[in-house]
Symmetry: C2
Subunit: 133 residues, 2 copies
């Protein structure tokens, strides 16, 4: 996940061996599936190609005990894709983990850090590289 908390951005990835089983982009994609109902439409909503969308779904589906997204044959709209019950549960748990971490990041350590942070960086000086030290 990626969340702004004042000047603090927290990204959480759930790893399955060396694959990303859940992360900011995949969680957004699950939400798009819940809304859009097909791989094409969910990908389009996030500005991704069909192939990239499909590969993200394939990775997610292979990382959990059962698929998070399932394709549906036939019907009035000629088939689609939707979240499984597990997909719905994983999305909710991931968002909860984000919320827990956003709350935890609001404590003393972040307050101390941001007390000496500028609002914007000072301008870069020339030359862009000093003598070696």
């Amino acid at each position: 996940m990626t969340r702004a908390h004042s000047a603090c951005k927290i990204k959480v990835q759930i790893l399955c061996d060396d694959e990303i089983a859940m992360g900011p982009g995949k969680a957004d994609l699950l939400e798009a599936f819940a809304r859009e109902g097909s791989i094409s439409a969910a990908g389009r909503a996030l500005g991704m190609s069909y192939r990239r969308t499909w590969l993200l779904v394939d990775t997610m589906n292979r990382c959990w005990h059962s698929p998070l997204v399932e394709t549906v044959q036939g019907g009035r709209k000629g088939g689609g894709a939707r979240l499984t019950d597990l997909g719905t549960a994983i999305l909710a748990q991931y968002r909860q983990l984000q919320a827990d971490l956003d709350q935890a990041s609001g404590g003393a350590a972040l307050h101390a850090l941001t007390a000496t942070l500028r609002e914007r960086p000072a301008p870069a000086q020339s030359p862009r590289s000093p003598a070696k030290h």
Copy 2:
């Protein structure tokens, strides 16, 4: 920061406008400065070029009210670079924030998430792309 907590990786960035004032790579670099005492040696310890190391230092130094790393002229070893008091403090506060978040991530939400996570992904099926849905 990047930390493994069972299958959960948490990365925290402190942003100053659109620059990264502190993150996993920059914190590791501050630690290398404290150990190595020069830009060249700190960069080398992390496998980075002198120029890249210098640019990371320059960004950090411009994002806070005063520099985190200062260069030192002369001396027996012909100059070097070391953490300022602010650099030492920011590094400690960032590591504390990491520790707070690692602890927060160990709760119920992560436990629920990982309960249905495979140890490793199921093998990819061919074809690598399905019919459109």
